[in-house]
């Protein structure tokens, strides 16, 4: 009886639901280090508290992927994000540099990622 009544209720009355929407943004990170060639890989130091790819409203954090050949992609919920990290950059000759991304490191500087596909260009600075 319960199932029959519920099925009737759902079939008769469920015509008012919205179609699904695209909630995600596919972010392409393009990274450069001024004065240097493109590194083979850049790995963010996730152990630091200041490392973040953080939604400023929900404060949800995303892991920053390994950036290979100067570019990487990740999927996030559409929103406004703070991006900051210290990372180790490895070059083709095996040399390493400690680099920092600080362009979007506060809510006031946060980047808007509200389209289905977004590109963010990060200019890293070299740490001494």
């Amino acid at each position: 009886m319960k199932k029959i009544l519920l099925i009737i209720a759902v079939i008769v009355l469920s015509g008012c639901e919205k179609s699904s929407q695209n909630l995600g943004c596919l972010v392409t990170l393009n990274v450069s280090i001024p004065g240097h060639e493109a590194p083979v890989s850049i790995t963010a130091d996730q152990s630091l508290e200041g490392t973040m790819f953080r939604n400023i409203n929900s404060l949800e954090n995303y892991d920053i992927p390994v950036i290979t050949g100067g570019t990487a992609q990740l999927q996030v919920l559409k929103g406004i994000y703070m991006i900051a990290f210290d990372a180790d950059a490895v070059f083709a000759d095996g040399s390493r540099l400690r680099v920092r991304s600080a362009e979007y490191n506060s809510p006031e500087k946060a980047v808007r990622l509200t389209d289905g596909n977004c590109t963010v260009t990060l200019k890293l600075i070299v740490l001494q």
């Binding site: 519920l6 929103g79 406004i80």
Partner: protein, 469 residues
């Protein structure tokens, strides 16, 4: 109308022999379960023309009490102690016109309200603010409502207006002070077709709640206020005890309905209604920026049949309802107060609640008494989901019960006893009407027990006393 009166007179055949008081006769007729059971929800106002009672004014004082060992719904608290004053008056003015008015005042305490600081939680959930301390909440509410219906030839029309004002507060930290107002108007039109009436209605609703939560303890706030977004999520950026503890809800909605109604006491009735209500949450001290929207759509329908006979009467109602709630959350900009316009929203919360209910009434008149049985079976299935994280909560249940009743005229007094036993609940209620001059004085106590899990239970009770004339 004549048919209705004839049917009622037939119903009250036994009473007539013993009672000369038409008021007591009307009360006795009205209390009979086949008539008291709501076979026709108030979807339109022309139904007022078809009420069998020509005139009735009731003034009542009431006390309600509830105590649960653990809150069944923690947002509403685990206890209640409230007093109410209610007055209602209905009068058929003749020449196919009828008018009804009602007022009420409520004052009480909701006990141990937890994880909810806003008022009107049922309307606004899950987009309310909440804290982990909670406490007793003082509540005070006024309502006013008026209805008028008339007839021009075979056409029928009606108007309805209502207003509700609610004030809730707490005098220990955290201290919410919530003021709600809820205004509704409705217009109805219909046509009398043979033995039935067909009518439609259009309604409009405006809702507003201003909420401020303060902390007075000089040692600082004892909790944070969380701006909930459903299933344990919240706007983490707005959590705290400072800048974002003032908010405003603005709501508006409309309803359309159609009703098919028999003019006589017996017959088939049916109706459908669709409600649309959208509420937005604002931050008053941040340039009134809106940061969440809740759209609630409800479709409901019923079909009923009632057969009123001299000795044995019966009826049944099948009710269906489907509620869909969709919550959208703003992508607030870096500087919140700058983002009043062009804020993108994401629909991130959705809940569905289909419900079905089948009720029946069987009644047998024996001498001066009416014996009745009212079986009921109901089912619901609720599913809430966060669309970003995939979090989901799902519950369903089927409940059933049977009410046995006895309604009788003892001398010139009318009495009624009802006992309900069902899945996880029992209750007992009584009513006694005593003639007092041209009026009738009444008292109606009731008590109930319910459980919703192992070791979880609650008691409810209320007592009302008043006069009718």
């Amino acid at each position: 109308m004549k048919r209705v009166i004839i049917s009622l007179l037939a119903l009250g055949f036994a009473a007539c022999a013993y009672c000369q008081d038409s008021l007591q006769l009307q009360i006795f007729n009205r209390l009979q379960p086949i008539m008291a059971r709501t076979f026709t929800p108030s979807y339109t106002d022309v139904a007022l023309l078809h009420t069998p009672w020509l005139q009735s004014t009731t003034v009542e004082a009431k006390y309600d009490w509830r105590n649960e060992n653990q809150a069944e719904i923690q947002e509403l608290g685990n206890g209640l102690s409230q007093g109410r004053f209610l007055a209602n008056s209905l009068k058929h003015l003749g020449q196919g016109r009828a008018v009804e008015g009602s007022v009420s005042y409520l004052r009480g305490v909701k006990k141990n309200v937890y994880m909810n600081t806003s008022s009107d939680w049922e309307l606004l959930q899950p987009y309310v603010i909440a804290d982990t301390v909670g406490g007793n909440l003082q509540t005070e509410q006024y309502t006013f409502a008026g209805r008028y219906a008339g007839r021009i030839g075979s056409w029928e029309y009606g108007f309805y207006g209502s207003y509700r004002a609610l004030h809730e507060y707490r005098q220990t930290d955290p201290r919410p002070r919530n003021i709600s107002s809820d205004l509704g108007v409705r217009a109805s039109a219909g046509r009398s077709l043979g033995s039935h009436s067909i009518s439609v209605s259009v309604a409009y609703r405006r809702y507003h709640q201003l909420q401020a939560v303060s902390f007075m303890n000089p040692r600082g706030a004892n909790t944070s206020e969380f701006h909930l977004t459903g299933l344990g999520t919240h706007y983490a950026r707005l959590a705290g005890s400072g800048s974002f503890t003032n908010l405003r809800f603005r709501g508006k909605g409309f309803s359309v309905a159609a009703l098919f109604l028999p003019k006589a006491a017996s017959g088939f009735s049916a109706g459908v209604q669709y409600d649309w209500f959208k509420s937005t949450r604002h931050l008053p001290n941040q340039n009134e920026v809106p940061y969440s929207e809740l759209l609630t759509q409800t479709a409901s329908a019923f079909a009923a049949y009632r057969k009123v006979l001299d000795k044995f009467s019966y009826g049944a109602v099948l009710s269906l309802e489907y509620e869909l709630r969709e919550g959208s959350e703003a992508i607030l900009p870096s500087i919140i107060s700058s983002g009043v316009e062009d804020i993108p929203y994401l629909t991130l919360y959705r809940s569905k609640l289909p419900q079905a209910r089948l009720e029946g009434v069987l009644q047998l008149r024996a001498g001066k008494a009416v014996w009745s049985l009212e079986p009921m079976v109901a089912a619901y299935s609720s599913e809430a989901r966060r669309l970003d994280s995939g979090k989901k909560a799902k519950t369903d249940d089927v409940s059933y019960g049977l009410t046995a009743g006895w309604t009788a005229m003892l001398g010139k007094a009318t009495t009624q006893l009802k006992f309900y036993a069902g899945k996880r609940a029992i209750s007992l209620s009584a009513l006694a009407h005593f003639p007092a001059g041209r009026m009738s004085a009444f008292i109606r106590p009731s008590a109930g027990y319910h459980t919703w899990g192992s070791g979880l239970h609650g008691w409810t009770g209320n007592i009302g006393a008043g006069i009718e004339f």
